[in-house]
Amino acid sequence: MWTWFHKLASPPHFYRIAGLTIPAFSWAAGLLVAAGLYGGLVLAPPDYQQGEGFRIFYVHVPSAILSMFVYATMAIAAAIGLIWRMKLAHAVAAASAPIGAWFTACALATGSIWGKPMWGTWWVGDARLTSELILLFLYLGYLGLRSSFDDLQRADRASAVLAVIGIVNLPVIHYSVVWWNSIHQGSTLLTPGAMPIAMKWPALCMLAGFALFYGAVLFVRLRGEVVRRERSAAWLREVLVK
């Protein structure tokens, strides 16, 4: 298992593997999102309380879950990069941050559009909403800090420390609906029996599709990062010229 891991961490090997997996990830993500959208927008029955408006759930919940998942990935990759000085791990963190920031922005925007008809307001200063907004600021701070260094190694390591500090926010977001009296509803997707199957499977499809989409975009960006970091390496010239 470890030899596999070490092999994957070597830039030439990773560059090749990523090139092979990107089409598979993209197609699977596209198909799953298409199926999820059809199931969610057409097949699923309207909610008995929220009517048709609940359907934004199919974009909102996967984006929100991914916004946290991407941050966790980023922080773990950053920690691995700090501890074992693995170059590819820093590249994973660097490539994940913009994707995660967009997922967070997406979750906030769709939540806001959902909130207007359901709660009667675009925004409330509520624990769940505020902590998600803080997550967006953390992503933006990470990107800002990373871009302010000229030296790539220092940028990697300083922003990795920040990513690890920011992970304290993740449990706060997750448990904010449990710890405080939040206007935001609790999790229906993960509670067994809280949702009929006809409503649930499109959501799970969307979630898997979003996760694969993250994988695909991450690999595209990672290949870019590898090219940028290894631009003077001989193997890269061979691969690109070929």
Partner: protein, 228 residues
Amino acid sequence: MTARPGLWRVGMAVYARDLRLAFRRWEQAVQPVVFLLMVATLFPLALSPEAAQLRGVAAGVLWVAALLASLLALEFLFRADHEDGSLEQLVLSGHPLGWLSIFKVLAHWTISGLPLVLVSPVVATSLAVPASALAVVMLSLLLGTGVLSFVGGAAAALTLGVKRGGVLVSVLTLPLVMPALIFGAQAADLAIMGESARGPLLLLLALLVLSVSLAPLAIAAALRIGVE
């Protein structure tokens, strides 16, 4: 060969040195307090000098103004030491860097955070806060400025050597200290309304404990990267 000095002695030496340097440049040290006083003066002018209205926003105004004032001071925490090379000596000294950074942050807090706490009753009174609430207002700021100094210290250490790092320090610090702002302003608000502020104060204390115990590790890691 002389014995290595104990941790307390080393820590106190760092603390005393930073204080001495700060008092030699006291014009710089009083800037946060002046800033707090000026911002607090702006609100009665901008909103209305009516006492009832001011009292309603006093907790928020005071906390946000104190937050911004202490952000201003963060720039000076490691800047001078980084420029003249003494930070490098601290890193190379062989003493635990996390421990030393606790004392550096404490010295910074004594210069920039504590004065804010001390003038807060004056500012609060000018915002029509009743005298019965002043103790809680001061206590909330005492705990809150501590959290700000430690979390902000990590941000300041991370931005060492960055050109024009001032805005970046604020962008990094603010999201992480928002919980402290929420509980602190809530505690002050409850006290102004004449209710018990025990709950939010305890949560604020928990945040202080968390940041005192974890931030020095992050500061030490960031300083090592910064002096490389």
